[in-house]
């Protein structure tokens, strides 16, 4: 800290020729996301959970099967279903990490004061929120997809030992893998909205995890039909429908993949809309 450099004699023209753009804000948010250790850790944990859970799940399914009927004589559709269940099992746990990361992306800025720098650079505010959502969505989707693909490979290797197999070109495999990644990405964006509204890490994480883990259980315990009727429309139940539905369209009690996705999108939309209104209105 001993050097004193006189400021440049002439304002640099190069720096002045640029202006604020959404592409720039996207790049800024990408730099912010990748330059924090919490991001790296969260994504590594998502991948580790997916691979680990796929290994545990496929091993336990495979060992249970050896004692029973010859697994290789199972219908192909049942074999595919086994591999699929094992491959996306990690998403149940990964969603918690994606939710925490989504909250931290914005609450970390509020707790450190960084938000004032962000909103000074992007004074219209909403582009900053939109860019955060886009960057978080894409990054989480890519990581989720890599994690699910890895989990599929792990499951395939384990199931190959008992002659159960499934192909990734089968839509009953690749759609759940994509759906699981999509759900993780949407959860992180939902959590971003919650974090923006609550502005605190602890409060935001509690709200998101409470909604995912606690609310379904509480509704289950209420001895009333309306409570049970609500359960499929909860964020985590509908999310489950995105990557475990056996049907695309509603069938019987099942909502099907598309309706489940719509319900999750409604949750995400409500969260981001609330965040946008409050971000625009409140003093930073």
């Amino acid at each position: 800290m001993t050097t004193i450099t006189p400021p440049l004699a002439h304002p640099s023209q190069r720096a002045r020729s640029t202006s604020l753009s959404f592409g720039g804000v996207l790049r800024s948010e990408w730099i912010k996301l990748r330059s924090l250790r919490s991001t790296t850790w969260s994504y590594l944990i998502v991948i580790a959970i997916s691979l680990g859970m796929a290994l545990i799940m496929s091993l336990s399914m495979a060992s249970g099967m050896n004692g029973g009927a010859d697994a290789s004589s199972m219908p192909a559709a049942d074999q595919v279903s086994l591999v699929m269940q094992s491959s996306v099992f990690g998403v149940f746990f990964g969603q918690l990490v994606a939710g925490v990361l989504g909250v931290l992306v914005i609450s970390g800025e509020y707790t450190t004061g960084m938000i004032r720098s962000t909103l000074t650079a992007v004074p219209k505010r909403l582009p900053a929120l939109a860019a955060k959502a886009v960057v978080l969505f894409v990054a989480t989707f890519v990581i989720g997809l890599l994690a699910n693909l890895g989990a599929f490979l792990v499951s395939s290797v384990v199931f190959a030992g008992i002659d159960v197999s499934a192909s990734i070109t089968d839509s009953a495999i690749y759609l759940p893998l994509l759906g699981g990644a999509l759900y993780l990405a949407l959860i992180s964006v939902f959590a971003l909205g919650v974090g923006t509204m609550i502005r605190s890490s602890a409060g935001g994480i509690a709200a998101v995890l409470g909604l995912i883990l606690l609310v379904p259980t509480v509704l289950q315990m209420i001895p009333a039909e309306w409570a049970h009727d609500l359960i499929p429309y909860l964020l985590s139940s509908a999310g489950l429908g995105i990557f475990t539905s056996t049907t695309a369209e509603p069938a019987g009690d099942a909502l099907g993949a598309w309706l489940s996705l719509l319900i999750v999108l409604a949750w995400v939309g409500a969260s981001i809309a609330g965040a946008a209104v409050l971000l625009k209105r409140r003093d930073a």
Binding site: M1, P7, A15, L20, G24, S28, I31, G113, A121, D283
Partner: protein, 303 residues
């Protein structure tokens, strides 16, 4: 150029800023003074749109801050040295800030060099001292090479060398024709740095004038008199408009009479005088006089 018209900011029942209007002109350093809680930081936050005025408006170079195509090229602001994510390195912080405006790595390296942060640029900000945090805040403010700089307490936590650096830095920027708006609690520093002063007390402007005018107008000149006959002299000087303070044995501080008047009076009565010194008023005294009624949090005088 910053123009505020009828700015009001209320937080619930409390009015932090009460109908203030002022202009900060280019080519000079405008100091923003006032006791804690007077509304300085709130006013500065309203200029860059972080706080929304309850009433009135403030523009920078003719437009509200948020309406500019490239806000960081219009205004660089250091509002809070802690407005940085502690888990990120200084370099990445500046890179992310600049990226919003398409400002690249070469300009980031320029401002790092300009503020002397080379050795810590790749370290996480959480471990920074207050002084390094201030330098990083100034580096961030300079990213867009702005024509207007708003610096809230920039010398807070800096060592004497850093204080000198900030003073030279802002004087240089003003000489380039930029608008500099600077708040500080250090009156002596302000006297050396600022050309013009806006003094805020209890959310209202109590002075808006060149520094020299405020120093001259805020206090009455005092004269220090050292004499073996100090008590006789004090009796002779006694008059309604004259105040005499006995600061120590044989020494008087006289307000309300010029040094020549005291000398003449002493000569008429044949009293010896060992010292007769007009005391120039300091900005600090002028400031204390101005804000005496406007202090939000007053402390008991030390007895």
């Amino acid at each position: 150029m910053i123009t505020a018209e009828g700015l009001v900011k209320r937080y619930g029942a409390k009015t932090a800023v009460n109908d203030i209007s002022f202009t900060v002109r280019p080519g000079q350093v405008t100091g923003f003074l006032g006791p804690n809680g007077a509304g300085k930081s709130t006013t500065m936050r309203m200029i860059v749109g972080l706080d929304r005025p309850s009433e009135g408006r403030v523009t920078v170079n003719g437009k509200p801050y948020a309406a500019h195509r490239a806000p960081l090229h219009e205004v660089g602001a250091l509002l809070d040295a802690k407005a940085v994510h502690t888990g990120r390195t200084a370099y990445n912080h500046l890179l992310a800030m600049g990226a919003t405006h398409g400002i690249g790595a070469s300009r980031v390296r320029e401002v790092i060099e300009m503020t002397g942060l080379e050795s810590v640029a790749r370290k996480r900000v959480g471990g920074f001292s207050l002084g390094m945090g201030q330098r990083l805040g100034i580096a961030a403010a300079m990213l867009g090479d702005p024509s207007t700089l708003i610096l809230d307490e920039p010398v807070n936590g800096l060592d004497p060398e850093g204080v000198l650096w900030v003073r030279q830095f802002v004087r240089h920027l003003a000489s380039e024709g930029r608008t500099i708006f600077l708040s500080s609690h250090l009156m002596s520093e302000m006297a050396l740095t600022a050309d013009h002063l806006i003094v805020l007390g209890r959310g209202e402007i109590i002075a808006d004038a060149p520094v020299a005018d405020i120093i001259a107008g805020g206090t009455r000149p005092r004269v220090l008199v050292r004499s073996p006959h100090s008590s006789q002299l004090a009796d002779l000087l006694a008059a309604p408009e004259v105040a005499v303070i006995r600061s120590e044995a044989g020494v008087l501080e006289v307000t309300g009479v010029a040094a020549s008047g005291i000398g003449d009076l002493a000569a008429q009565h044949g009293l010896a005088i060992h010292e007769l010194t007009p005391l120039s008023a300091s900005l600090e005294e002028a400031y204390m006089a101005l804000t005496a009624d406007a202090v939000e949090y007053r402390t008991e005088a030390v007895r």
